[in-house]
């Protein structure tokens, strides 16, 4: 039986979502392709088994980490050629999209990015134009090669006993043109990843300063959520750029999105309007964010958020 490839290097929610999506296609057995340093596959094998992986292709070699995406794409393209999977799913994060882009070019295969759904017939659903239009598309050359957007579906476990297959890693000189000489993880504390979080609390220009962003962080921590920021806030230096939500930042689709001191320019709405529930706090009664908020408070965020926090803490006692 044909296989469906899921490319995964980490045991995170998006991996479980892709495994759940792959199982539901009815196109074949779910085989996870791990592209990473030695030991990566074994470290996540139990998690992959829990979500139904029947095979793990372990392509492990330091060379995959020493250079930018090209070696990973080369190994994946070779695996696809050898095993002819029915479809390939990758995470729709920067690296996943870039590996997919290279694979598409080298195989002459079509590519659909940021999909939120896929049918067994290979029809993918994509929100485009910042979520304002929903299109369905299909790959017309080659197999469905797609990148899956985080929070597209609710992952469900289904135990399996995966077979481990060691994949030899041979990388051409052509794929070694860009060396990664340093990798720095910036501290994010204990908060969940912005694009994966079920709750996102974002601050905008109305927060007023970098120091005052602590009111946003405290509320996010209270709800176990991630912190986001509007472009106005990151441009003003209130919060690091990597937390920016919007057209030129991250796209988030959490269960709850709370926007504080954010007017809701279309640039920002582009990154969050597919959130399930939207809450807004803004002093300006006419702020466009209120047009899309399920619950809005016209008021000073420095009064509203602490009072809400106090009320929540009391209710938990």
């Amino acid at each position: 039986m044909a296989e469906v490839f899921v490319v995964a290097n980490a045991a995170n929610k998006l991996t479980y979502e892709m495994l759940t999506m792959a199982r539901g296609l009815g196109m074949g057995d779910v085989a996870v392709v791990v592209l990473g340093a030695s030991g990566t596959a074994d470290s996540i094998a139990d998690n992959l088994a829990e979500y139904g992986a029947t095979k793990i292709y372990a392509a492990e070699d330091g060379v995959l980490e020493e250079f930018l995406v090209a070696p990973k794409a080369e190994v994946l393209a070779k695996l696809i050629t050898e095993h002819q999977p029915a479809a390939v799913l990758l995470p729709s994060v920067q690296e996943g999209k870039e590996i997919a882009a290279r694979v598409a070019v080298s195989l002459g295969n079509g590519l659909l990015t940021d999909i939120v759904g896929l049918t067994g017939e290979g029809v993918a659903t994509q929100p485009i134009f910042a979520g304002s239009t929903i299109v369905t598309s299909r790959v017309t050359k080659g197999i469905p090669l797609v990148t899956v957007r985080p929070n597209s579906l609710t992952p469900s476990p289904e135990a399996a006993t995966p077979e481990r297959v060691t994949v030899p890693v041979e990388v051409s000189d052509q794929a070694k043109l860009v060396a990664v000489t340093d990798r720095v993880t910036e501290a994010k504390g204990d908060r969940p990843e912005l694009t994966e979080a079920g709750v996102v609390v974002s601050g905008g220009r109305g927060v007023g300063s970098a120091e005052q962003f602590s009111v946003i962080e405290e509320f996010a921590d209270l709800l176990g959520g991630a912190v986001g920021a509007s472009r106005a806030a990151t441009d003003a230096g209130y919060y690091p750029h990597k937390f920016q939500v919007g057209q030129t930042g991250s796209t988030v689709s959490p269960q709850l999105y709370l926007a504080a001191g954010i007017s809701g320019a279309i640039q920002h709405r582009a990154g969050m309007q597919t959130s399930k529930t939207i809450v807004a706090i803004n002093k300006d009664d006419a702020a466009p964010i209120f047009d899309i908020a399920d619950f809005g408070v016209v008021g000073d965020l420095f009064k509203v958020l602490p009072q809400a926090a106090e009320t929540i803490k009391k209710s938990r006692q």
Partner: protein, 261 residues
């Protein structure tokens, strides 16, 4: 050093955008068209290098697009690039990103370049893979997602913005580098720049000039196709309260009722 900057004309992301009802291509005729936002950061990155070495750096814009893309080419030229190349052929309309990368790679094959600069993603398609697609097609280094670029002779160092921090990348020219808006703040064209842009050379290339056949591009050469397109149901405003001392408590109550706390 010869730098080619890729620019793309897109419908203004600040306005309503749509797909045409008959062939699902991006509706451009009725849209207000602008330079894709991050392209301006790529132009700025090129001009910073040109400003540092005015006699040694030549900046060429490359755009693939219909006739009216000339408007945004002139606007982009007003930021300072020396000249532009416009690949224009009716057969190209409807190309997917993978096919578009073939057209751009073919055009680059007709130009001289040490460095190709482009946006990390466009504001319309947003695929975010062009730098890597071109790297794969051209067999040159592709450094994507730059928030910082340093050029020392033929040696390039990039700080690549990642989801959880950054990576330092090194490569030598020729190379393609894609940039994020965190790299710089694009300059505003001066009046002198706007006047000068009107006289700068714009070379038009057809599909045959770049060496591709009509069936390799457009809908015929596309590797994916849109099956349907529907506007997302508009969100409507929900409950709105004015804080008169109880706004926070009311917010807490709403969050509790929706089971978020």
């Amino acid at each position: 050093m010869k730098i080619v900057v890729l620019t793309k004309q897109v419908p203004d992301s600040g306005l309503d955008r749509s797909l045409s009802a008959d062939d699902f291509t991006v509706e451009r005729a009725s849209a207000s068209n602008v330079i894709s936002e991050l392209d301006e950061n790529a132009i700025e990155a090129a001009m910073v290098l040109a400003d540092a070495d005015p006699s040694g750096v030549e900046v060429t814009l490359l755009t693939v697009g219909p006739d009216h893309a000339l408007e945004t080419i002139r606007k982009a030229l007003s930021m300072g690039p020396h000249k532009a190349v416009h690949v224009q052929d009716d057969a190209i309309a409807g190309s997917c990103a993978v096919t578009t990368s073939a057209v751009i790679a073919a055009a680059l094959g007709k130009l001289e370049y040490d460095l190709v600069l482009c946006a990390a993603e466009s504001t319309d398609g947003g695929v975010g893979g062009m730098a890597q697609m071109l790297g794969a097609r051209l067999g040159v280094a592709a450094m994507s997602g730059a928030r910082k670029l340093t050029v020392d002779g033929n040696k390039l160092t990039v700080e690549r913005q990642t989801d959880d921090g950054y990576e330092t990348l090194t490569a030598t020219t020729p190379a393609v580098v894609s940039v994020w808006d965190s790299m710089n703040t694009p300059r505003y064209p001066s009046l002198k720049g706007i006047m000068a842009a009107k006289r700068k050379p714009v070379e038009t290339m057809s599909l045959s000039d770049v060496g591709l056949a009509p069936e390799q591009v457009g809908a015929a050469g596309a590797t994916s196709a849109v099956v349907s397109a529907e506007p997302r149901p508009a969100r409507s405003a929900g409950q709105k309260v004015v804080d008169e001392g109880e706004g926070g408590a009311q917010l807490a109550q709403f969050l509790a009722s929706e089971k978020f706390v």
